[in-house]
Amino acid sequence: MTHRYRESRLILAGCLALSLALGIALTLPAMAQDKPRYGGELVFVVPSEPPSYDAHQEETFGVIHPVAPHYSLLLRVDPFDKTGTKPVGDLAESWTISKDGVTYTFKLRKGVKFHDGSEMTSRDVKASYDKIIFPPMAMKSLRKGAYAAVEAVEAPDPQTVRFRLKWPESSFLLNLASPWNWIYKADTLAKDPWWYEKNVMGTGPFKFVEHVRGSHWVGKKNPDYWDKGKPYLDGYRAIFISSSSAQVAAVRGERAMIQFRGFTPADRDSLVQALGPKITVQESAWDCVLMVAMHHEKRPFDDKRVRRALTLALDRYQGSQALSRIAIVKEVAGVQVPGTPWATPPDELAKLAGYWRDINASRAEARRLLKEAGVPEGFAFTFKNRGIPQPYEPLGIWMIDQWRQIGLNVKQEIIEASAYHPMLKRGDFEVAMDFQCGFIVEPDLDLGRFLTNSDANYGKHKDTVIDDLYVRQARAIEPEERRKHLRALEKRLLDEEVHVLYTLQWHRIIPHSSKVKGWTITPSHYLNNQLDTVWLSQ
């Protein structure tokens, strides 16, 4: 009995050892796969080209995608955070916020070097932020308005930067992680503030090699990068391809590994079908949205019942299902991107006009409101849309059909893309598509356009309640308080007054070569382009 017991124990121990060995053997390749590999050149497509190299003065991702790997920021958005809303230190090692919320003090990393070998200090951070917030006379700064709260930027010692604010601002920290706020060298800026328009020199993970206009941009590994062990790549090559079919062909033909802006659902499907496991697809709600501006000084859109009817007519849930198959839109959302900290919970969203689950009830109410406002059956108006295929055209056609179902007769007028913005500014429309893309999902950044005096208040509404709620949410320190003001603002904007009408959230689709590792999709195509965490598995 004892002998048999010993035997069975031995067999059991053998089995355990075997399964352990098998387990280790099977896990090892997977572990090796997840361990970053050094070397290789990342080749990616950029659909647009940088007009200049100075991100402080530019507004297109065409600057960020090829040029960002040469620079560092004070703070950056965590490259592995899928919501794209978590700030982490880049040049800043740590920071403190004063109790009254008006002083932010940052301790900088030591030993960070510019690509010319000089040391980076707080003078450089101060000079860069001074250029953004208080630009020289003739120089423009597109993000100056986002830092209206800043009274001064100070550099008390070489490793410390201090921002003094005029009032507390809950979004300030995240706003400092803006992907546009590259840190430049103070001495260079002092000699020539325009120098960075045509030259590249930062502290980022890659050094500049060449830019052949209309063709490509090349960067090589910075061996002195402050984050030891990074970057993993030997270098990268950005190829400028404007035609969307040529972009897809480049990935399909394995001439490029990724395009960081986004492809259409049809492009994704064709790439997956052609390349199978060689393609990995990452998807996310996209911090871009098309809205409908209704001119508040033109009849009958000066009547909020009419504006409310227009939003009530839209079956967003059904539209999401149908349009997400053919266009780069998907999520039904309020004023914040779903899945991010300030997004409207679906139950609350369903209470707002135009988001009701019962579309028949919604449209019946829309018809009632139109009748009450004296708008006759078959009332005709012109909807102006931007001449860009994705997603403007499919969304425009969908909305016209939805409005037809409450008895409106809408004619679409397509305006060429370059003439569109001036048209909006002139107010030369009754109802028109409006657009916004953000770089970080943050209410202060996204909702400023709805203030009465905003340059982007194309519908020309005047609403001091909105203005007040905006300031309250921006200055609220406690998240719950901020959330309360935010929901009130959203209700007033989209439901009670219907100053604008949100359509569907854009949906970002990135099909990329399965060789590309260490890159995580976020809701913004402006984020996560420093490439220091990216590596190639082969």
Partner: protein, 317 residues
Amino acid sequence: MWKYILKRFLLMFPTLLGVAVVIFVLIRVVPGDVVELRMAGDRGAVSEEALAKERARFGLDRPVWEQFATWLLGVARLDFGRSMWTGAPILEEIKLRFALSLQLAVMATIVAVLLAIPLGVIAALKQDTWVDYAVRIFSIAGLATPSFWLGIVFILGLLIIFKWLPPMVYTPFWVNPWQNLLQLIWPALAVGYRYSAVATRMTRSAMLEVLREDYIRTARAKGLVEKLVLSRHALKNAMLPVLTVIALEFAFLIGGLVVTEQVFNLNGLGLLFVQAVAHRDYTLTQALVLLVASAFIFVNFLMDLMYAWLDPRIRFR
């Protein structure tokens, strides 16, 4: 003869001036503004203050006549200014793309000439036989097929059948001839086919006309070998209209391959042209229009000289 050349040469300048005036006015009539386009980006909202600063920087706040005078004076000194989109000197922008566009135009012309002249001559000699019909079908198909569509077919064919795509970045011929040809041969074939179709039709009809002329009958009556009749008497005279077509097509190719360049992602003048217009880059668009107009005018001038050489009646008129 010299008087004729001088007259033709001097006529080029008022033509170019006319083009300059027209393009300067037209580009400003089109709605849109380079400053707004560049600064609005995806976000859409830009302050008036930022827009005004940028307009002042480009001189767009000055009266139009002053902008025109400044530009024209620059052009006279061959200084076309800077691109309003990239800030780079215009000549640098053009120089970057010119080599590719010129090489593609030359390659497409070679493809076209190699196809068109033998096919056109054979079709004329074998008029109304199956050979003629085959050539006519081939050339009509070429006329009916847009070169960008053929380019897409090439790309899809290469991708699906060979799982291969031509290089997407231009390598100059003198740096790596093989890489260069791998990239440019496909667009040259796509463009050259359509181009050859036009030239084939022209060669055939010109040959048919010439072959019925009295001097051909005389040459044959003198007992001249048929090969000599065709090459020395018929082909030389039939070449007049064919050369015109080839030359004009060549000039067109310098800046006109807009869609084909997009399909193959070629960094050429056609693509630059589209981007310049889309961005409302006034200075760059003006310079490109002047360049293309100059190419046409210069080619026309060369053709006039060629005509005079080929046809003595023109010289002595």
